[in-house]
């Protein structure tokens, strides 16, 4: 008799417990942290930032004055790559080679098509993240984007979950009222 009851009641308890576990796992797992999709062309941040010493704001020029940091126009890329073509000479101990990435870029430019980058860092539509407020407050790019200057292929370094945002807001004494970001 007890056995019969056991398998009618215990599943209920199991279900509740499992739901709780799954929900809590869900809230963590819902972040695409670590996602690193293959981009239409391999843009190497290390070469541009670390080797050549380019400032982030050269390409993402609106990051300090707009909610949207801006993706560089193909024309911006071609500003350099009209000269820096796909045939790379031997330099700094590297052999001369052909850069497939630059070749792809030039093909896009010749076809007058923008590069369809795959978006990696995204907060939901109901979150307003004004880049300029963060940049001007001294929050470095790396705080949210990780060691992006060293990423040969960009990945999402942080979870970008709300708890992660709020922790920083509280620590840095930034406003953390809901309506600061959610509207």
């Amino acid at each position: 008799m007890t056995k019969r009851k056991k398998w009618t009641v215990i599943p209920g308890l199991f279900t509740v417990a499992a739901t709780a576990v799954l929900l809590s796992a869900y809230s963590g797992a819902s972040s695409p942290q670590g996602r690193s999709p293959k981009q239409p062309l391999p843009f190497p941040h290390p070469v541009h930032v670390q080797t050549l010493g380019m400032n982030c704001l050269y390409c993402h020029f609106a990051a300090f004055k707009s909610p949207d940091p801006g993706m560089p126009a193909v024309g911006t890329c071609m500003g350099c790559h009209t000269v820096v073509r796909e045939q790379r000479p031997a330099l700094n101990g590297r052999l001369a080679r052909k850069s497939e990435g630059i070749a792809t870029l030039i093909r896009y430019a010749d076809k007058k098509q923008p590069v369809p980058w795959i978006r990696i860092h995204k907060v939901p539509d109901y979150v307003n993240f004004p880049h300029m407020r963060h940049v001007n407050a001294g929050v470095t790019c790396q705080t949210c984007h990780g060691q992006i200057q060293a990423m040969a292929q960009v990945y999402q370094a942080q979870s970008l979950n709300m708890g992660w945002c709020v922790t920083c807001h509280v620590e840095r004494k930034a406003r953390y009222d809901c309506s600061v970001c959610h509207y």
Binding site: T8, A29, A73, V74, G75, D125
Partner: protein, 1069 residues
């Protein structure tokens, strides 16, 4: 213990299977990244734009003839919002609902996406090359056949370069000048003005008048330069006790009529009889008893009321008399009123011909259009061009425009939308939308209003001027100056100062001067009207009731019907959306056994009939019924087709739609027939946003009555009937004795004592008390955000709003502004109808427009409530209160404590915040809101794959990127435009300063053409709103509920007739 093999419960294996499947599903859902989102950069970055930051372009609105100045907000290449240009001499920063909805014309999903040609009886897409070839060929044939002189160009009326260019193009082609059409133009009044003053439209000074008398002139609906008139009228009314009194004379109280202090309900067409009686009375020098008696008989108005009117006009100088009835004797009425204004000394004082408005110069009278229709019918016309007008809809059906038009062998439409006329055409060459075009307008003499493209064309369209230039060049005809090949070059060559001057002037959208070679359009030839015998011409017509057809103040000439914002905007008078109704007086309705919503068969003289629901309306004569014009399209896209009916279908014959004054002004006489009513079987739920037209003593819209000597007294409808409130801020202290004395005594102010202290919410700690932090004295160690000492500083502000009901005219421009700013979905389109999906749906609702509104599912965050005071017995003396109702952002909000998930809460800066991502849709908050200003997303209006999607491609291009598009099952409401607050804070922070008082405002306040709404920080005395909230007229709605609202209303002021018998007739007392 024995095994029980037959267990009724879930077995272990099954359970594990279920558990596994659930877990897998959750894991998949949780980890799935969904669609890959792309970041598409520019190819070449445009100069001077920053992604995510708006650019602003000054241009000209072309939704009606007025041509107001607008500033288009453009974000990342898409125009997302239109606001009035503060520098423009006409609209001075305001913009009406129709003007704002121009965006939904630009992004209309039913717009022609490219040129179309008729093949096998259908319009099929073609290329511009082929279309141009056909156009050139057919023009060439007409010219070769020597029939070009009979060609016809029906153009939307607009002032400026294009009209002049068009006429020069037509003359180069050997064609007659274009007909410049505006079906709403008051041609009778304009013709009278030309005779009296030599100009078409004088500016009117409402503020200088002591008495405004409107003879059917709906100057707040569609009569003349509506926006400047509304601005001036509201300014005049803001003088409170010394403001001009207003009397409205007409068979139906329009929106303008509802703003009047007194309504003289005369028979249709009898405005003239009253005007003549006044004229002869003025001549006789103090009342002509016999003519008043005669006018009383003809107009159905008591002689005493007319006598008093005459006396009042004689006593109140200067006054402002306006004529505007759309009757067959409109020209005579306008001339009579002009001469009355002259004899009363109003010309120069309130009527100012020296500063004319030129927007309407050059409109073609309807008589000329009717003659052109007859030419088409006779088969003389070889080719007809139509641009921006829809005569197949706006001309009474009895004229049979369609039949005549069909006889034209080649018909070309330059229209943007598949309307009734363009659908009949053989070739469609869609014009750019005005927001994609170059052009100009001449709103007032000496000023050029500039029109520039605000974005790249949405579709494969071409500006008509360029098409015409190309056609001329291909046909070997020289048009324009020398080598100019594009309209833009030609346009620039006409601008005084050329390209440099244009570049300098474009940021403001205006430049002084007049155009090179400005057109001297011939004034309409007008023989002086012969005075006709007086009985209203409708008297002899058969039928039981006079029919008044009036243009909808929201949809205009019907061109607004394909814009869902305008269809969804409740009519300012009846509060009905998406439907056509017939207005019937309550006593008449009771006599006939009719109730609102009963289907009524309205039959015209020739047996033509339409079936519409009844709307029982106090503001109409008992012997008259009224219907709005604007709906009832048989084409014109998904939002207009088969929505409502067209009352012009009722007119029996062409002769019935007679032209006013027999060649006077020559406008259509819309009020000219009689109809009979029959109750038919059936009932249609009215798609109305109104619960009750009465306040039931709730004191929502309160008013003061102006008394002699500049004092005011509480009018009926308020709760404190005996309260005496002196005028102005000076009296504020005496009106609020409670607070001062209580503070002096050191007594604690209890929330329940609100009636003595009518503004506690704005600065009291009550807002914080709702959070239990500050007022309770429990300062948490780290200091809550609600503490004014908190480092975030948010609690230092209290965002608040005042709404001045003395200014508000109920025009509803704020509602559309809110839709545009806050991504509010429209829910009433036929395709969004959900009947059949729900078992509780009323039968017979399938596909009906407005069925979501019938079920109370409208989403308008700001609702314009309209209440009547008085007139319960069916008399004409009732007062109307317009109350814009939006989230009151209560300091002690009933919605907040009932939310089980804290999705709504009070922010430290005084906002009642709705957090969409927390909301689970219990709707407890809406249930607990005494103001009923919370709206629930019953369907996925914002989700493209849902049937109820409110923004079909490319309508969603308009969406404001700063505001979340809400999903299904989420509650939403007014946010006080929090995105604008945050944007201003960002800007201030970037510039290293704090907010400057009045540096920004919310969308509704920005648009308001009455300047009734003021927004700001009530905690900072520098903001205007902080001062206005202290006004003696201020009150909170439902103050007794201790909600401590942040929206403060200022009482309306009524102006009853001052005199011995004033109490008997004065409105609202």
């Amino acid at each position: 213990m024995s095994e029980q093999p037959e267990s009724t419960g879930v077995r272990r294996r099954e359970f594990l299977k279920i558990l596994g499947a659930t877990g897998a599903a959750t894991a998949t859902l949780g980890c799935g990244t969904g669609d890959v989102e792309r970041l598409i950069p520019y190819l070449i970055h445009p100069d001077q734009t920053v992604p995510g930051v708006s650019s602003y372009y000054a241009t000209t609105c072309r939704e009606c003839s007025n041509a107001c100045g607008v500033i288009a907000e453009v974000r990342d290449g898409r125009t997302i919002k239109l606001e009035g240009n503060p520098d423009h001499p006409l609209n001075r920063g305001a913009l009406c609902a129709r003007g704002q909805a121009a965006l939904q014309g630009l992004y209309n999903p039913d717009r022609y996406r490219g040129p179309m040609v008729r093949q096998g009886g259908r319009l099929v897409p073609t290329t511009w090359d082929q279309a141009m070839q056909l156009l050139v060929q057919r023009i060439g044939e007409a010219r070769a056949g020597g029939r070009a002189a009979n060609a016809l160009f029906l153009n939307r009326h607009e002032t400026g370069s294009f009209a002049a260019f068009l006429d020069s193009w037509l003359s180069a082609m050997g064609m007659p000048p274009a007909l410049s059409l505006d079906v709403l133009a008051q041609t009778a009044v304009m013709e009278a003005n030309r005779q009296s003053y030599g100009i078409a439209w004088p500016s009117l000074d409402f503020g200088a008048a002591r008495l405004i008398v409107s003879f059917g002139a709906d100057f707040l609906d569609d009569w003349g330069a509506t926006i400047p008139q509304q601005l001036d009228f509201a300014d005049a009314r803001a003088k409170l006790a010394t403001a001009p009194r207003m009397i409205y004379i007409g068979p139906r109280r329009s929106l303008t009529g509802l703003n009047a202090d007194e309504w003289i309900a005369c028979k249709p067409g009898a405005e003239l009889a009253i005007a003549r009686a006044l004229q002869s009375g003025a001549k006789a020098g103090g009342g002509d008893k016999a003519s008043v008696e005669q006018a009383a008989q003809q107009s159905g108005v008591p002689a005493a009321q007319l006598q008093r009117l005459a006396a009042e006009i004689a006593a109140s100088k200067p006054s402002l008399l306006l004529a505007g009835a759309r009757t067959a004797n409109a020209s005579e009425l306008a001339l009579t009123i002009n001469s009355l204004n002259q004899s009363l000394g109003n010309v120069g004082a309130t009527v100012k011909p020296t500063s004319p408005i030129t927007s309407f110069d050059g409109t073609t009278p309807a008589a000329e259009l009717l003659a052109a229709v007859e030419r088409m019918r006779s088969g003389q016309v070889p080719i007809t061009f139509v641009r921006g007008v829809n005569p197949a809809f706006t001309i009474p059906r009895a004229v049979d425009f369609a039949g005549a038009f069909a006889r034209v062998p080649f018909k070309v439409a330059f229209s943007s939308y598949p309307d009734e006329t363009s659908e009949m055409c053989d070739l469609v060459l869609p014009d750019h939308h005005p927001l994609e075009s170059w052009g100009d307008a001449t709103p007032v003499p000496g000023t050029i209003g500039l029109q520039q493209p605000t974005m790249e064309p949405v579709f494969n369209t071409r500006q008509t001027a360029d098409v015409l230039l190309l056609a001329a060049r291909s046909g070997g005809v020289a048009v324009g100056a020398g080598a100019t090949t594009t309209w833009r070059d030609l346009f620039i060559s006409r601008i005084p100062g050329g390209a440099a001057a244009l570049t300098a002037a474009l940021p403001r959208g205006l430049m002084p001067g007049s155009l090179q070679g400005a057109p001297s359009r011939r004034p309409a030839v007008a023989p002086a009207p012969t005075p006709s015998p007086l009985p209203p011409p409708t008297e002899s017509a058969p039928g039981d009731f006079y029919l008044v057809v009036y243009p909808s103040s929201v949809l205009g000439d019907g061109s607004g019907a394909n814009k869902p914002w305008l269809q969804e905007l409740p009519d300012p008078v009846t509060k009905i959306a998406w439907q056509t109704w017939v207005e019937i007086h309550p006593l008449t309705a009771a006599r006939l056994g009719i109730e609102s919503g009963d289907l009524i068969r309205v039959s015209g003289p020739g047996g033509k009939a339409v079936e519409v629901p009844a709307y029982v309306y106090l503001g109409i004569r008992q012997d008259t019924v009224a219907m709005a014009f604007g709906r009832g399209h048989s084409a014109y896209g998904r939002y207009a087709k088969d929505v409502g009916v067209n009352p012009l279908d009722l007119f029996a014959s062409g002769t019935d739609a007679r032209v006013a004054g027999g060649g006077g002004g020559g406008g259509f006489a819309w009020t000219q027939g009689r109809v009979s009513l029959a109750k038919s079987d059936g009932y249609m739920h009215l798609a109305t946003t109104e619960g009750s037209a009465r306040q039931h003593g709730r004191g929502i819209g309160r008013a003061l009555t102006a008394l002699a000597g500049g004092t005011m007294r509480e009018a009926a409808g308020g709760e404190h009937g005996e309260e005496v409130a002196p005028t102005g801020e000076k009296g504020a202290q005496t009106a609020r004795p409670g607070k001062a004395s209580a503070e002096q005594a050191g007594a604690e102010t209890m929330p329940g004592d609100a009636s003595h202290d009518f503004l506690p919410g704005l600065r009291s700690p009550l807002a914080a008390d709702a959070q239990g932090d500050v007022a309770s004295g429990i300062e948490r160690k780290e200091g809550g955000m609600y503490s004014s000492q908190h480092w975030s500083g948010m609690a230092k502000r209290r965002w608040a709003m005042t709404i001045d009901l003395a200014r508000c005219t109920g025009c509803s421009a704020c509602v559309t502004a809110c839709y545009a700013e806050n991504n509010i979905p429209t829910t009433g389109a036929p395709y969004q109808s959900t009947a059949g999906l729900s078992r509780s749906a009323t039968p017979g609702h399938t596909g009906l427009p407005g069925s979501n509104i019938v079920r109370g599912r409208e989403m308008a965050w700001i609702r314009l409530e309209r209440y009547y005071e008085g007139g319960e017995d069916g008399t004409s003396s009732f007062d109307t209160r317009f109350v814009p109702m939006l989230c009151q952002h209560c300091g002690n909000a009933p919605c907040e404590p009932v939310c089980p998930v804290y999705a709504t809460y009070h922010s430290p800066d005084g906002l009642n915040v709705q957090v969409y991502n927390r909301c689970v849709g219990t709707r407890y908050c809406s249930n607990n809101c005494p103001y009923k200003v919370r709206y629930f997303n019953w369907f996925g209006y914002g989700e493209p794959h849902r049937a109820q999607y409110a923004w079909p491609e490319p309508l969603h291009w308009q969406l404001n990127p700063d505001v979340t598009v809400r999903g299904k099952g989420v509650m939403e409401k007014c946010t006080f435009c929090v995105q604008r607050i945050r944007e201003a804070e960002h800007r201030a922070k970037a510039e290293g300063r704090t907010l400057v008082p009045d540096e920004f405002t919310v969308a509704c306040a920005q648009a308001c053409p009455s300047r009734a709404i003021t927004f700001g920080d009530a905690a900072d005395a520098g903001w205007t709103v902080a001062q206005l909230a202290q006004d003696a007229r201020a009150y909170h709605v439902f103050e007794e509920l201790n909600t401590y609202t942040a929206v403060v209303y200022l009482k309306k002021v009524n102006h009853p007739a001052l005199g011995p018998d004033a109490e008997a007739v004065g409105g609202g007392t």
